[in-house]
Amino acid sequence: MEPIAGDKLRGHLETLILATLERGEAHGLEILHRLEVRGCGLLRLKEGSLYPALYRLESAGEVAAVWEDEQHGRRGARRRIYRLTAKGGKRLKQARGEFTQFVSVVGGILGTAT
């Protein structure tokens, strides 16, 4: 199967982030790892592009972030831990509904390869 590049994810990245955070709070790299695992290694996302999406979600109040308490054996810069808010949960539910409808309609038109 062909890998899915970042530009094909445009418009879906924020929803994907919300879905990964539904499984529990996480820092940036952990979110990327979750996306990789759930995307069966087929999502090719440039890691830096995660952060603008996280900041947009944070500004919209759909995720909340705090700095990690301690270094947990790490040195240097701290990580920010993101969690899904109630507003983010609502948006995720809505986006799931829209996407299911999209797949159903477009999939119905495209049909299966013969």
Binding site: G48, Y51, Y55, A65, R74
Partner: protein
């Protein structure tokens, strides 16, 4: 335990963040978060490749184009914040330490020459205090973050001190012509104080709220 971030990778983040038009708190947040991300990614790649050079290249490839990321990060910031940040950026350039030294020297000379004129003396002394405060904010990281609280408190306290004597003059003589300029000036100072206070609250609500230690 994380490997320390190689200077080349830290420099990528620094360059990227420097060019962003965002308030200083957010800039610090983005920088620390990206540095933490790269440090962790570097540790992963170092374990995978064994060579520091290969690990660096792999991290940069994973991270993506820094210029593109700058554009994306800038777009993720609200327009008002971008305007404030660009205004602050200009202010920083205009109020360099040399300009402040010149202004302070002129004020000191003025204070020495007009020391017998109490109004002028106090005014120049206040301006000198203002210059010293601005310079302290540039030097102290703590003041650099917290200066709006002091500036707004000063303005909100000083404004009435200008307005009230003028109001007393109106009450006594009904002389609006003489009282109007100080009353307007005092009102402007108070308004500026509230504006700075509002701005400080706005900045505090940005994602870097918990960055100050």
């Amino acid at each position: 335990m994380n490997e320390p971030l190689p200077p080349e990778l830290a420099a990528v983040v620094r360059r990227l963040v420097r060019s962003l038009a965002v308030v200083p708190r957010r800039k610090a947040t983005i920088e620390e978060e990206l540095v933490a991300h790269l440090a962790e990614a570097y540790a992963e790649e170092l374990e995978r490749h064994g060579s520091a050079r290969d690990a660096r290249q792999a991290v940069l490839a994973r991270f993506g184009d820094a210029e593109e990321l700058t554009t994306q990060l800038q777009a993720a910031v609200s327009r008002p914040e971008q305007l404030i940040a660009s205004w602050l950026g200009h202010a920083e350039v205009l109020m360099s330490k040399w300009w402040m030294a010149i202004v302070a020297a002129v004020l000191v000379v003025c204070i020495a020459i007009f020391r017998d004129d109490p109004q002028f003396f106090v005014g120049a002394l206040a301006m000198l205090g203002g210059v010293a405060f601005v310079r302290s904010c540039q030097i102290s990281p703590w003041l650099r973050v917290n200066w709006p609280w002091f500036a707004s408190a000063w303005a909100i306290a000083t404004g009435p001190a200008v307005i009230l004597p003028a109001a007393a003059l109106v009450r006594k003589n009904g002389d609006w012509a003489q009282a109007a300029p100080p009353m307007v000036l005092g009102a402007l100072i108070v308004l500026a104080g509230f504006a700075v206070f509002g701005w400080a609250l706005f900045v505090r609500r940005t994602p870097s709220q918990q960055t100050v230690e």
